[in-house]
Amino acid sequence: MLDKGIWLLAAAILFMPVMIQESGAQQEQKDLTQPQQLFETKCSQCHSLDLPRSNRSDRKGWEETVGRMRVSYGCKLTNAEAEIIVDYLTREYGK
């Protein structure tokens, strides 16, 4: 019984940051139809946004980068979402 209690506590602590994050996300009510919010939400799951923001690329380059994230790095995006993010990156961080 004690073990189970410890594991329940551990599980609560383990997932606390996720719950806090989700709660925060709900409060902020991210509008994922907005390109910037979609980019920030999806891309920050795996890396800070300094990385893309410190790089500049043309559309083809951003297509390759986003494609690489989907194929090699397990980033789950629909085709439509990927296109919105590529449009956004090309516009804001193009060259």
């Binding site: 383990l14 940051p17 994050q21 800070s48 380059g61």
Partner: protein, 398 residues
Amino acid sequence: MKTDELSRRSFIKKAGQLGAALALSKGIFAKNATAQAQEKPAEKPVFEGKEKMIVLSSKPITLEMPLEGFEHFITPTEFFFVRNNIGMPVTDIGKWNLMINGEVRSPLRLTMSDIRKFEEVETLVTLECYGNSRGFFEPKASGNQWKKGGIGTARWKGIRLKDVIEKANITDKAKHVVFDGADEPFVPTAPDFKRSIPIEKAMGPETLLVYEMNGAPLPVYHGYPLRVLVPGWGGSCSVKWLVNIQVAEKEFDGLYMVDKYRTPINPVKPGTKVLPKDMAVLTDLDVRSIIFSPSDGAKISTEEVLIKGYAWTGDAEIERVDVSTDSGKTWQKAKIVKKGGRYVWSLWEYKWKAQKQGSYLLMCRATDSKGRSQPISANWNQDGYLYNAVDKVWVDVG
């Protein structure tokens, strides 16, 4: 991999995640604890124990040493660079152990107490990220835009990897050694960080498993409780938070071998994209030197100044360093004031007095025992690895 091994690994990794979550909630790593969870572009987080570092990325944590760190021949841990690829775990040493399996006749499971029974080795080693100075490539190469500080020298204590591998008694098929740490990706669909090195390098007497850094247990940033140390090769080979060593017949074929840490087999024009199949996995570092004082853009007087820098290389030794104070028209030999030897950087100096006011381009160029010297322009590659062009620093005299 057997089911029980999978379960064990999964448990260790989950335990690590628990520790990381606890640490994060207590603010042990980032004073701005939201940094790992949610992006706040306006504010850079500060990482405890690494307050003076340049934050290149807060997730995964990537911290660059500022120029002042070069003032120390042995880099203080607070200045030692950090390059994580995925999430950083915290390990419960009571539950931690190291598995050695694959092409071995006697698989091993070692506790830290077992590790400590092998012959202990203590040595200085310089470690550099393969992507150090990526920020100097033109056109820009994608990735963290390191300047000069993706490098450091520490005093490491541990055991020889070959002693452990020999105890496991490798088979005739053993050609590569795959390292896996307790770190896990931020999303379950992302690949794990695992890397392999050839058995010859693994069996070299210089390749270690280390548990101490600069006289203290490895900090979690640097791989507590145990990491690999592959001297002369890029930092990514020195896998942190080590939990599994798999001896294998073939080079590991995960993402961090087949997609990352590769450079073109044949040189390419800057800006040329190359498919992974036309690239090879990185091995030892190339020869390189840098100037850390004076810094780029410094204003100095017409009095004599001391130009200072370091030189280092891969599986070789530094033979000489040359300095130019006139944009490369003439070169003079620098004085190596502290020779690090194999796998340790060498500190060099050059006394210079400008004859008149003006702007001067200072340059340095190292040559190693393999006869390699630094090029004027580094071999461009799309991921920006192994930058080693002649270092250039502008100073204003007057």
